[in-house]
């Protein structure tokens, strides 16, 4: 398949064949985590745009991802051997994958923060997270008795019609037997008559059913096996009352549960330990295992799989850029995956691109740039997701997503007390600064060459040296792989 892409006016304007929103990348806005000083630099911006496209074209169909180039971080390359033989996570790997990602200062790149930048930022953001009821829902909750008043009156009336009036002496007697909290006719019917006698628990010497037990019962009648034959009216009224109350108290449950969830996220992120999914790390340099715990991270690929990939030199991504200086200039890209040609497309470039286009000197004619990534592997990584049932893990995007959506509206749900949040919670294209790494496309090494394309002339490799393969003398935990590109998620930026 041949595509033609038109690049206009110095910087790039690839609109015809790129996904919606991609053109926003071209603005090159500064971001809060890409701290590389650009100074008076002239960066090969068009080269990066072309390379990004070429890599994505090569991997399309294999991985359903839109990869971005990664600006070389202070962490260096990825220490891919992510755990020692005892299963302790490599601190070097953690330092890379726990970085916060955002749009780089150099267009088409993503920049990474210092190690631990994502859990640090997450911890700060959720320190102001809370679960709140809207004013209207709080009012509904406050009026629970008003809402259930009719049903309560009906229940008492129904009971007294069938079983006679409840006397003060009966209530006092029940209070003496069960406790001072029995003080009204309603308490007497629900807690004493239904909860203790009709449930058969008094006869069995057991404490009465709690109010909550009855409210949450799947089948109320089944809980009351000793109910008398003439109790059906009372049971019906009781069910109506409980349903009415339950519809409102569900709000209370959601408020308590939401607040509890926030506290668990804060605790598990800020105080990770062996009981909540925290992990120790091993220093790849010294082999020392840390005393403290970090929030857990996982690499989903088995080590042997990564190792096999990296050392399989048949696994290649090959990108050939043929550059013909005609007017307008034309770059023809061929991409190949495991030696199989993947796609071909062309770019039209203005003359000015030659000034910046790495690494060609201005004025050169036909040229060929060839980049081959050997032994590539796609690494999938994620923070240890918080589990509601086990209360382990620390990362849950949902409350944050909801809090961002709720903004400062008076609605029930998660919110941020400190608004706006200290990070741009938008997507990469929106200059988001709260990204986490989800995938890394790595390779063992890359081979790069640029050749002059004059017919009959020798084709000198201007810079043909390979990125060195990990040497056998490098300790295994310090062996690195070159990161070709990455994919990121930006919690809070919506679906």
């Amino acid at each position: 398949m041949l595509h033609l892409k038109n690049i206009a006016a110095g910087l790039v304007c690839l609109t015809a064949f790129l996904p919606a929103g991609f053109s926003q990348l071209l603005t090159g806005a500064a971001t809060a985590c890409a701290v590389q000083d650009t100074g008076a630099q002239r960066i090969a911006v068009p080269f990066f745009s072309v390379l990004t496209d070429a890599i994505n074209t090569a991997v399309s169909g294999r991985y359903d991802l839109r990869l971005k180039l990664v600006a070389y971080p202070a962490q260096g390359d990825l220490m891919w051997y992510y755990e020692n033989p005892s299963g302790v996570f490599n601190q070097g790997t953690f330092d890379f994958i726990s970085a916060r990602a955002c749009k780089g200062t150099v267009p088409y790149t993503a920049a990474l923060s210092a190690p631990g930048g994502f859990p640090n930022a997450y911890s700060q953001v959720i320190s102001s997270l809370y679960y709140n009821l809207s004013s209207a829902d709080r009012q509904r909750l406050s009026n629970v008795t008003l809402a259930a008043r009719e049903e309560a009156a009906q229940l008492v009336q129904s009971y007294e019609s069938a079983f006679g009036s409840i006397s003060g002496a009966q209530i006092d007697s029940a209070a003496a037997q069960y406790g001072p909290w029995i003080s009204t006719k309603l308490d007497y019917i629900i807690n004493v008559v239904a909860g203790s006698r009709w449930s058969g628990r008094e006869a069995a010497g057991l404490p009465p059913l709690s109010y909550t037990d009855m409210t949450c019962a799947k089948d109320l009648s089944a809980l009351l096996p000793d109910r008398p034959p003439n109790s059906s009216g009372t049971i019906t009224a009781l069910r109506a009352y409980l349903d009415k109350v339950h519809s409102v108290t569900a709000l209370a449950d959601s408020a308590s549960n939401g607040s509890w969830t926030v506290r668990q996220l804060q605790n598990n992120t800020g105080r990770p330990g062996p009981g909540n999914g925290g992990m120790k790390t091993v220093d790849p340099n010294t082999g020392a295992v840390s005393a403290g715990y970090q929030p857990g991270y996982m690499v989903m690929n088995p080590l042997t799989g990564i190792s096999n990939d990296l050392h399989n030199t048949d696994r290649t991504i090959r990108i050939v850029m043929q550059i013909r200086k005609t007017g307008p200039d034309l770059i023809r890209i061929r991409t190949a995956w495991n030696a199989t040609e993947a796609d071909t497309f062309s770019y039209l470039l203005p003359d000015s691109v030659y000034i910046d286009l790495f690494p060609l000197p201005y004025g050169q004619s036909d040229q060929v740039i060839e980049i081959t990534y050997y032994g590539f592997s796609m690494i999938t990584t994620q923070p240890y997701a918080w589990s509601d049932s086990s209360n382990t893990g620390w990362y849950d995007a949902y409350p944050l997503d909801q809090a961002i959506r709720n903004d400062t509206q008076d609605v029930t749900g998660y919110k941020l007390a400190s608004w706006p949040p200290p990070y741009n919670m938008g997507a990469y294209e929106e200059g988001g600064t709260f990204g986490q790494i989800t995938h890394l496309l790595i390779c063992n090494y890359q081979q790069f060459s640029a050749t002059l394309g004059y017919p009959g002339e020798a084709l000198p490799a201007l810079r043909g040296a390979a990125w060195p393969m990990p040497s056998a003398s490098v300790p295994v935990l310090q062996q690195t792989a070159y990161v070709i590109g990455g994919a990121f998620s930006f919690p809070g930026s919506g679906p």
Binding site: Q41, A148, S183, I190, T212, T249, G270, A417, P422, P475
Partner: protein
């Protein structure tokens, strides 16, 4: 500095920066700046001893604060430890505070919660009768609010009794409050929901309070770990590369995530080169015209000077038999990209000392009335990009290589005369344009060799790093720094100082 020297420096550093950027662009997708030769000397790349103690001289280089260089596309280093020192000063100018609006919200929310507390008492008394002084005395509480929440809910409805009642914190943190109240009567629903509303009203109050405490704690932790590094907070000892003595004190931690074995491999991989070419010719007034990489020329008095032990030095355009008509090729072989970083602060472990986000947030917050970090006093540094005069940069990567091999090819010269005057056995140091040092050693760095050209009027002289360098102790082995990548706080600019001044004046008022 004389104009011609300035221009020479501009052209040399710019050309070197562009060559370095081009050489690594296929994998290093960030800008590089040439690094002016610092007072620290060359880079001691063997960054740890056999016991994995960090090399003090490596630390001295990496811990410098970076500012705009004297020449185009260059950066210069401060003295050792400049960056952590500057960072400490910046931290001391930061505060974490709530916006006025949120402070008002906090007060309002507390007021609302107080109102709701009265509702709890009122609804309780409506259902169960007035709470008497005797009841409060018997329950051991002094307010009606405490009576309902602490005693009735905590002891009675929870079934816990007075010996081990549910605490307020347990109730506030409960996932399901109703489940903690097995002995709550049916008529208690109203009160329980009132308490739930009360706890819910306190959520934004608590969240703001938590957020404020978190910011203050973060700042405190950063200051402690930066000012008092220790074994327990990620500080590190260093080893003197000269004596091998390990320092008793701790420094702030720095790391290089590239093994010394890999650096060594890279330096030995001589197939990877970065080259720079110049041509020279005579100019008026005894000057020499220089063209770096085909750029417009500039004039200097001396292009390349060779200094040997004992103080003698030779201008390589004035040595007998040489000429001013020559081309110069400088080649750096075996380059290596060395990533380095301060030990990053980690919220979970309180280890590490450097965390740029509070500074970035303070910059972004400027004068805005928002929650977060702010500068309470004007930061004593320009936090902008180096090109805008920024002087708070930190090194993130260093591109190092072996010392350059320099080949001078003379034309219109006299090889016979040169051969008689020159000795290949002398070693020394090289200086470009009279002020750019190409390495510096107590013993001579370079030795030379020469080769006759096609006739006597043409010959070349090659300076290459002296083999004596290989005898240098491991920890003192050095490499030439070609360029570096520098990080500055995002968004840093001139508005930061004015914002802080305004804030300070507002607070005084």
């Amino acid at each position: 500095m004389a104009n011609f020297l300035q221009e020479g420096g501009n052209q040399f550093y710019t050309a070197l920066q562009q060559k370095a950027t081009a050489a690594v662009s296929s994998f290093f997708k960030s800008p590089l700046l040439s690094i002016q030769y610092p007072s620290q000397g060359d880079f001691m790349w063997n960054w740890q001893n056999a016991n994995q103690v960090f090399n003090q001289s490596t630390f001295d280089y990496l811990s410098a604060v970076i500012s705009q260089g004297d020449f185009t596309n260059s950066a210069k280093l401060s003295s050792a430890g400049g960056f952590p020192n500057a960072y400490t000063q910046l931290l001391n100018s930061l505060v974490y505070s709530l916006s006025n609006a949120n402070q008002q919200k906090l007060i309002q929310a507390q007021s609302n919660a107080s109102q709701q507390a009265q509702t709890i008492v009122s609804d309780y008394q409506t259902t169960y009768g007035a709470i008497t002084d005797d009841q409060m005395k018997a329950a051991g509480v002094t307010t009606k609010q405490d009576y309902v929440i602490s005693y009735i809910l905590g002891s009675v409805w929870s079934g816990k009794g007075t010996s081990a009642p549910l605490t307020y914190t347990q109730m506030a943190q409960a996932r399901n409050l109703a489940q903690l109240m097995p002995k709550m009567p049916a008529s208690g629903t109203q009160v329980l929901t009132d308490v739930t509303v009360y706890l819910n009203l306190m959520q934004p109050v608590n969240a703001l309070s938590d957020n404020l405490q978190y910011g203050a704690w973060m700042l405190s932790s950063l200051k402690t770990n930066t000012q008092y590094p220790s074994a327990s907070n990620g500080g590190m000892q260093t080893v003197n590369p000269n004596t091998g003595v390990v320092s008793p004190q701790y420094q702030v931690g720095y790391g290089i995530s590239y093994p010394t074995q890999s650096i060594s491999n890279d330096l030995q991989n001589k197939s990877r080169t970065i080259a720079l070419s110049m041509s020279t010719s005579s100019a008026s007034g005894g000057q020499i015209s220089v063209h770096v990489e085909g750029q417009a020329g500039f004039s200097v008095g001396s292009v390349l000077r060779f200094s040997v032990a004992g103080g003698a030095s030779y201008d390589m355009s004035e040595v007998s038999g040489t000429s001013t008509d020559c081309s110069i090729q400088m080649t750096w072989a075996g380059y290596s990209m060395v990533p380095s970083a301060p030990l990053a602060w980690q919220q979970a472990t309180s280890q590490g000392w450097y965390y740029g986000d509070p500074i970035a947030q303070a910059i972004a917050n400027g004068n805005k009335d928002v929650d977060g970090f702010k500068f309470i006093t004007a930061p004593p540094f320009n936090l902008g990009p180096l090109a805008a005069g920024g002087n708070f940069g930190q090194l993130t990567n260093l591109l190092i290589a072996n010392y350059p091999t320099i080949t001078i090819t003379y034309k219109n010269a006299n090889f016979s005369s040169f051969k008689q005057a020159w000795s290949e056995h002398v070693s020394g140091n090289l200086t470009l344009f009279g002020f750019i040092q190409l390495g510096s050693f107590s013993q001579g760095a370079y030795s030379s060799s020469y080769q006759e050209g096609s006739d006597n009027s043409t010959f070349s002289v090659t300076f290459s790093a002296s083999p004596a360098l290989t005898g240098v102790p491991q920890l003192q082995q050095t490499a030439f720094v070609i360029a570096g990548a520098v990080a500055t706080p995002p968004g840093g600019g001139a508005n930061v100082a004015s914002a802080a001044k305004t804030r300070a004046s507002m607070q005084e008022a």
